[in-house]
Amino acid sequence: MALALVLNQRRNDPEVYVLKRLTIALSLSIAGSFAHAHSPDLANWESVEAEARGQTVYFNAWGGAENINAYLEWVGEELRDCCDIKLVHVKLDDTANAVAKVVAERAAGRDEGGSVDLIWINGENFASMKERGLLLEKGWAEKLPNWGYVDVENKPTVLNDFTTPVEGQAAPWGMAKLVFFHDSARLQEDALPSSAEELLEWAQANPGRFSYPSPPDFIGSSFLKQVLIETVGDAAVLQQPADEADFETESAPLFDYLDRLHKVAWREGRAFPQNYPAMKQLLADGELEIIFAFNPSEASNAIANFELPDTVRSFTFEEGTLGNTHFVAIPYNASAKAGALVTANFLMSPEAQLRKQDPEVWGDPTVLGMDKLPEPLQAGFAALDLGIATLAPEELGPVLEEPHPSWMERVEEAWKRRYTVGN
């Protein structure tokens, strides 16, 4: 009775109630400040998920393609439903902008509460962030629950990005391979070039029907790398930093190639498409005959969206084309580290990867190993209709390794000096 009275009294006592709320609030705020100072504990995934609840994750990702934006929209919905995370896609026209934000924040002393939580990244941007120490500590990606599905054995680029060791500072998201597209209604298959040199000959025979996005667009720069690899004397020098080689000599054949190409390129090289979606539109209009992308399913996806006619087909070069992996990384000063970790883990999940590989959605190849997946999920991947314009994985040809990131920086700089000219 006495006990009941005490209980009763307690429940009705406003002061006790207020105190209780205050204690909860205080302990919450202490926990909150703790979370800021320390990274989430990856050994205890449940605690990461708990911490991630209610967080807003600013995902800085290139936003120039509608299918990818739509996919990220779906990811946002899933994360909201499963994990109570609000995903905001900050649409970039160049990933370098997100790197710039983190650089600026570090310079301004904002080592906590940064504005970027997650970045879609690879190549020189990843190398530059890693080198400057702007990324979350090493090894986090390999501790994510879904890491076990990643095809580490057969996809070496998930561990080595453009010669830079990833060391678990970025979570692999998708595979890329340079693939060319043409409209079979206009261009016969036997006329297709099978190397950069043949492409130039083809362009000379068909003036004004080939171009590439102007660097520093990612796909445009990749085309320059493809030509660089094919024209350089010894491709092994590209695996070392450019400073250690004679850049002028090694890149001379590339610029000689470009000089000749520009003469017969679309608009005589006086203007360039801004990115690969723009090239897609130009192929649809019949302005360009041969275009390329880093996603083998690009054309099938575009056909599904009425952007390209269903006569478009893919091809690659006999000696191989560039291939790499793209990642998501977390800046060291991210505000929602736990949320970003959960997002990165979800992006690597078989479910999200399966949807991503569907050409109706995006068509981006998975980073996961089929033999590592449970039976029903394997079947899901096997059942995917890659689309009429997509080459089967075994038809994609050899993968050429990405040069050291410094080569790209030098080539982009030299390209700008050489071709940004006033008429």
């Binding site: 929209e73 026209d93 934000k101 209009d285 952007e307």
Partner: protein, 561 residues
Amino acid sequence: MFRLTFLGPALTVLLLAGPVGFGLAGTVLPAFGISPGFGGGSFGLHYFRELFAQPALFCSMTLSLTSGLASAVLSLLIVMLFTAAFAGTATFRRMQHLLGPLLSLPHAAAALAIAFLIAPSGMIMRLISPELTGWERPPDLLIVHDPLALSMIGALVAKEVPFLLLMTLAALPQAPVERVCQLTGALGYGRVAGFIHGAWPGIYRQIRLPVFAVIAFASSNVEVALILGPTQPQTLAARLVTWMSDPDLSQRYLASAGALLQLGVTGLAFAIWLGLERLCAALRNKAACGGLRMRRDRAVQVVSLTAMILAAGAIFAGLAALAVWSFAGLWQFPDFLPGSFTLRNWMKALPRVVEPLGTTLTIGVASAFIAAILSVLCFVHEDRTGKRAGRGGQALIYLPLIVPQVTFIFGLQFLLVASGWLATLPALLFAHLVFVMPYAYLCLKDPWRSFDRRYEQVAAGLGKSPMTTLFRIRLPMMLRPLLVLFAIGFSVSVGLYLPTVLIGAGRLTTITSEAVALASGGNRRIIGVYAFFQMLLPVAGFAIATLVPALIFRRFRGMQV
């Protein structure tokens, strides 16, 4: 309470001069390597040396300068000749109604519309191919992004003509056009020559500041340059924005130095314009004194009307093409219409439109509302003290329109990053308000001053307080101009690109910033959807401004138009 009206002018001055002043400081200091809290810079002139070592910088500067001046010359010439030839006629009134909606259309949407029309695979080519040209495929012509910036100048002219015409319209009642034309006509001058000799000088004096605003915008804009401008190299302003977002911090100092250069380029354009003004005045005087009467000026009439119709028609046709694209299935060259229609583009885009649309509406409504309150306070204060803003005050109102946006928005961004306010709703609202305020003020100025003050005297005679008079008589009777102010302020906010991109920092996006971002990808279907909203929002604003007063005043005969 009523004494607090001084807050109106005070806040307005602060709002207009503050960001421009602080922003410029935030641009000037880093240009010389000084930037508290940012690091990475060292004092000196080396950022300018680096700037001038950039490839083709001179070409970029020349492009900015010439496109700025050419757009201003052409649009002013068209407006002047058209007004001269048609002022007071039914054609004039019709054109005025036709161009009205274009005024509220964002620059980016107009540029997109023009791009869709004139591109080698655009609507004009589709219309004449293959029947007239024999082209089964688009010709390899550099029309959009042409190195001489002609397409960019064309779009700027098409967009500035409605603006200048509206400004001229506001100035017309104060010029004795009819009497002057009767007089010059009696002296044997042709209509156009008589107007230019007699009436135009007075009108031009009143629209001079808007003309400078046109020069400033045309020589430093980013969105039209990105969509239509040259690419090898880009205009100076477009290159500045690229440097500003470079991961290499030192590039920001370069961008700041470049922004100062932009200020110089725009300043040079002003100086050349002042020279042109004198030259034209001298030529006019010579022509007038020499008795050049131009009695047969039919050709001028035809040319000016054609230019007017072209300017308006191009944008309307382009917008129509965009609308068709948003519903298009596969649509290949040279088909004039899509092979199939689909709602898929809309279904796909709509979920992603929601958030930028929300931001656009919030910022637009809030900034228009605040600007309306501030403007009313300014004018109430003016009535109370009987002191009108002088020439300096007038110039101050135009300050954010005359100083190139890039030059002070950069500095503002620096300050906001340092204070942690970047990419917040209040910061974006503030940045928009800087540009909405001038239009709001200018828009209310004439209606407020021409209000029949006897209504207020009657109210005062009946013993009503000034406050009651304001809220019961003045503001309700001024509902129509207030709503127009609101609609214009809202549409200005909807159309702002650079402040949104730099202050919103990609986290807060509006329909316009999204549309320009999408333009680079060339997905015409999705661009069509965004352009539709860019069009719809201002039109909705003006529809409200027209319908609400009509509804409220339906039983007040004296309040109907």
